[in-house]
Symmetry: C2
Subunit: 335 residues, 2 copies
């Protein structure tokens, strides 16, 4: 065990798209575990869109990260030392341990990972928060019915790629919107989406959506926002449902972007637009994990990871993810 | 019975705010009732915001009214002649009879009015479509809980004025937004709203809403849209619910107005925005009528009518209503 720990702290609140210089790599003494706590050696760190809101100052999500503080984030790692009967050295766990190589946490705040189900890193994607977000966001917020059309923006991301596959399991048509040819290929060839398009190839989103959703859209799972969402809303069917999971196109605007008002369209469509956070389903996480693990085991869902190595590269990975450079779950390999 | 009928037809599709010249007063032969039909003498005609959408060409609401056709609208009147056992001369009925003095309709399409419950005209307001819209829109779409704050835009209109009173019955705080001092007085003094403000007096809607809704907004019942709605959304509480009933500020724009994008705010708030049409509750209209009549009988809800006389004045009344000149339900007295 080294004598020092390496951490990434927030250097300053970013203006617009974060820069590498908005973060600091710092060295600090190894943390010590007290009673009820465990010391965890991080194996993988997750970088996620929600973190942009947490460093923005007034997110409304949760307490913002202050300059000088260690960045928030979920880590999958191995228990090195435990002062709680719940955990033993060698156990694999997942928790909100932050952007650092070693962390101490209350043992009861850590989720034990079964490494026989899937590689440990899956606890940060399909068997973690992105998996639960896709599961509850699609099934509970949108209640898709067999034969319905489900459109997904940000479809090649960690959440979006699972939403489309779960939509297929529920016998819906899954249509993806993503930002590169390679992502579109990934969706339609590897994941079984019925169709997908590259929004960077087509200025006329409305025409593309009309072509790929000839029967309209019953469910729109939105990770992106902006003009893509305007076009999706316009194609929504009567009694359409929209889950607002993310708005990654808007996160780096200091002032709200202007767009056409479309609220009136919801009236005649009798349509619903609902924002959600996965934590509102906290009482049912076990159900979600169990179902996702079963689908994974049965080969009904695939997942893909985009991995960079070294905590010093976490800011770069985070920024790349905000710019849509990843396919599947963006992870940082720590160890 | 006269030999001629007077009707208002659509002369041309309005551009922006409708003008009196967009309508024609025409004379036509008296209609004749065939088997299963009744001839109705109109007493009151209802003019409502939804009609703006129906003359706009591509409303999505329902079949648009074509130039040359009689304007759509609900009428309360008296049966003159009936060829169906369901109705007899002297019965009072309500139905979608259009902007005309006499009309023939299928007897089964007419709703019989009990004139002992309330004046016949109430079948076009509190005991009619506006009452049902307020009842189902507030209770089913928004599910207000005791102690919650309910904000209503267009609060002095036919629907809004009832929404606030039903919110009070459900032990919520009812806050109204309206467009004149007189309307504000009507809401707080006559109808028992907890507070209200005149949006024409205050450019800073956000500050006014903050002042009157110190605990945030749990339910927002929107009849208006635009900048008022932007301010309301910003003040929405976690798990807030928004019913989109109307967007009267937007109906006369040929191109969508631009506004700040706020969809992302729904995420952290885990909030829902839902458009609705009263017809989606058609299976429960009897429940609504019964409850509204009971509240009216018990003095728990008040209603107010704004009446102009003569079918020739229907276009003027309709335009005035779109401009917010009415307090309570805008009606046209035909007979």
């Amino acid at each position: 065990m080294p004598a020092i720990n390496r951490q990434i702290t927030l250097a300053s609140r970013p203006a617009g798209m974060p820069k590498v210089s908005d973060f600091h790599l710092v060295e600090s003494p190894m943390p010590k575990a007290g009673p009820g706590e465990a010391l965890v050696y991080g194996l993988y760190l997750s970088v996620d869109p929600y973190m942009r809101a947490r460093i923005g100052g007034a997110s409304g999500y949760a307490k913002p990260v202050e300059p000088g503080e260690v960045m928030v984030g979920s880590v999958a790692g191995e228990v090195i030392e435990s002062h709680d009967p719940r955990l033993a050295p060698g156990d694999f766990v997942e928790g909100m341990l932050g952007w650092q190589e070693y962390a101490v946490a209350q043992a009861k705040s850590l989720r034990k990972i079964n490494p026989e189900l899937a590689p440990v890193s899956a606890a940060l994607s399909v068997l973690g928060m992105p998996g639960l977000t896709a599961y509850f966001g699609l099934l509970d917020i949108c209640r898709p019915q067999p034969g319905e059309t489900v459109l997904i923006s940000g479809a090649a991301g960690a959440v979006g790629s699972l939403v489309g596959q779960i939509a297929r399991i529920k016998r819906c048509r899954a249509i993806g919107i993503a930002g590169s040819k390679e992502k579109v290929r990934f969706l339609t060839r590897d994941l079984g989406f019925d169709a997908a398009f590259n929004y960077k190839d087509s200025a006329d989103y409305a025409a593309k959506i009309r072509e790929l959703c000839p029967n309209g859209i019953d469910v729109y799972f939105d990770n992106v926002g902006g003009a893509i969402t305007d076009a999706a809303i316009a194609r929504l069917n009567v009694r359409g449902r929209v889950a607002v999971c993310g708005q990654i196109s808007q996160y780096n605007s200091d002032e709200p972007e202007m767009g056409p008002r479309w609220l009136g369209q919801l009236i005649a469509k009798q349509a619903k637009v609902e924002g959600f956070l996965v934590k509102q389903f906290a009482g049912r996480f076990e159900e979600g994990y169990r179902q996702l693990a079963a689908w994974l085991h049965d080969g009904k869902i695939q997942y893909r990871e985009d991995v960079v190595t070294g905590i010093e590269n976490a800011p770069r990975a985070f920024i790349g993810m905000l710019q849509g450079q990843n396919i599947g779950k963006q992870l940082v390999k720590l160890a």
